[in-house]
Subunit: 423 residues, 2 copies
Amino acid sequence: MNLNNASKDQLRQWEQQLSAEYDAIVAKKLSLDLTRGKPSSEQLSLSDGLDGILKGNYKSLDGTDTRNYGGLDGLAEARELGAHIFGVKPAEVLAQGNSSLTLMFQCLITAVEFGFTSTESAWSKAERMKFLCPVPGYDRHFTLCEQLNIDMIPVAMTANGPDMDQVEALVQADSSIKGMWCVPKYSNPTGVIYSDEVVERIAKLGKIAGNGFRVFWDNAYAVHDLAAALPLANIMEFCRAHSTEDSVLQFASTSKITHAGAGVAFVAMSEANLKGFRKFLNAQSIGPDKVNQLRHMRLLPTIDALNAHMQKHARILQPRFDAVLKALDDAFTGTDLGTWEKPAGGYFVAFDTRPHCAKDVVRLAAEAGVKLTPAGATFPYGKDPQDCNIRIAPSVPSVQEVVGAMEVFVTCVKLVAVRQQLA
Amino acid sequence: MNLNNASKDQLRQWEQQLSAEYDAIVAKKLSLDLTRGKPSSEQLSLSDGLDGILKGNYKSLDGTDTRNYGGLDGLAEARELGAHIFGVKPAEVLAQGNSSLTLMFQCLITAVEFGFTSTESAWSKAERMKFLCPVPGYDRHFTLCEQLNIDMIPVAMTANGPDMDQVEALVQADSSIKGMWCVPKYSNPTGVIYSDEVVERIAKLGKIAGNGFRVFWDNAYAVHDLAAALPLANIMEFCRAHSTEDSVLQFASTSKITHAGAGVAFVAMSEANLKGFRKFLNAQSIGPDKVNQLRHMRLLPTIDALNAHMQKHARILQPRFDAVLKALDDAFTGTDLGTWEKPAGGYFVAFDTRPHCAKDVVRLAAEAGVKLTPAGATFPYGKDPQDCNIRIAPSVPSVQEVVGAMEVFVTCVKLVAVRQQLA
């Protein structure tokens, strides 16, 4: 199918066929859901051993009674796990509660109101605060910016990460740009891994950016490979080489490793940043839930145990991703109907329709019983200027359900595109 | 012993005796600690059944899979437990993470930066923000104010709660007073329970206070009675009677019910306040740790179970409080050396020395091997203008250790007072 070169007659014929296909689908009264980037029950069950794993021994390796107050930084062994995930020293890592999103918010509040390294560096001292947002991106990052009145500037994603020419030009030209969102491995939603060159150029932004600039490096899918473990360059090593250690804050969690709502979140930062963040954290925290951290460390005591555990996730997720990618490949390779990356990990496949089609595709799919993430959700303020990006999340449905949902998706993409071309 | 009426000779004689007693104590090289307001290992062990209690069933009563994301408000059954503690409806309660302190901070940030009911009501719109702090009080409340640049105005505590004549006069005179800290039951550290009249007058403050005024009602010891369960008036009922429902935010947690570092925290507020707070919370939270909430509800499924559990705590704590109060009674009743309340619950006994003695008592006790909370810690900015208040926390040491530590305490109080009178 190639719409640009098709005759009106051909288009009309396709429209009739696709309309009939679509009507047949509607008649099936499906109820399928590709919206939710969360683990399936089968994945969650991999960690059901967490409850009861302590067997009455609530002491951490260094003898801490995890049941009582205190220990702001988190358990030593949990910080070690975080350090492994980030490729930094345990002393640079805090192990905290059940959500890296909360840690990101706490870091934002620290940066906006108090400043990490000095009161003068607080972003709220500036007239405006702006963030660079590679698009498509993660809607909850954008919500944090909106909550804190931080203006968002979209920058383009490529197959190697953000368009760094654009990023560098913007940062150099405007000192009110205070930070940038990054999901560097299996980026949400495009699934790409930032190239070594992109990682190094991001590490160097601290040299050209204004006072207090911080990259929010949300490494949510650090160990979430579908097959072979693919490498991501270590951004903190580049930072050390370029003396920009204070410019990057790294986040991760066990949300998609153990139980999504009941995991452990990690943040890594320079000693100078830690000093400011600890002051903020200490005022409001009695310390994280160390009992839950201990459970996690008993379940995943070594890196080998972690890797083996992630391979079990991969075995569950892989066929679902295969089903999505096969459907897209069969339907759209060689056509001018859409483009997509082929993620080797993470939780999403992002599909770009022809311009100004995404909303209609999502609406038609919904009317045929297939829920998709609202078009625009992957852009700041919910506005995709091209109205083309759709995020597909295949983890929760069964493989058969993914296959069924993708049939609907493919039909809707074709039908909307053909109708648009005819109009 | 009555210093005001004692002759110089008598004072000199006492000084010699007490110095000798003190030297004998120093020679014992004690190492005792009355600083920590936290549960003992014996108390923590009462809840060791938490780990493993789920027996593979991670579903809450309404069928929610607690292992996955979501459920911002907390589990329905956990909110019911909170509602029981506060005496409000479950719909007015959120069950959250492991710390009510964090919830207090989140509410403060909401009030300061965003406003609970409108952007206009944000405290940061005003030139100054001030809080009323009944003294002596809880140091971590004061730290939150300091962190957020909220000026603190001390008001006197009485045996019935804060001096309400003073409170009302201040609130009426100064609209920049935005809130007030209260620990209404077994107040930290004096141990008093606010009288019904005081509770009602606090509930009425919203009528005379400026825009956005909020009482932070930290009911940390709601069910923490040593013997009979003593009542505290229901502040929200008074608020409803006086149409000031938005002026009170209530906090509690299971920190001193189950495991101190790994419990569940609760906040209760009006529908209007909830609307503002949920917006704030939703931006930064993937929902609280519902698995841990479920564990708590399996351990304490009914109010009767909760009460029986708290009686086990009381049986452990009571002899420690008895030891403190007996030592104070034996040494100081009928003297002019100090005053104190007799708490029937909570975690502290507060002792007021003669003016300008507390720091010296704490120092002498430390040199004799008994750690006490730093003098001044119970006042804003760490400054007790009378230098007289000392907080005694007897929960962690054994009864025998409490007895030994109180012998040292009593000797130090007498010695410092006598020396001061001689000087």
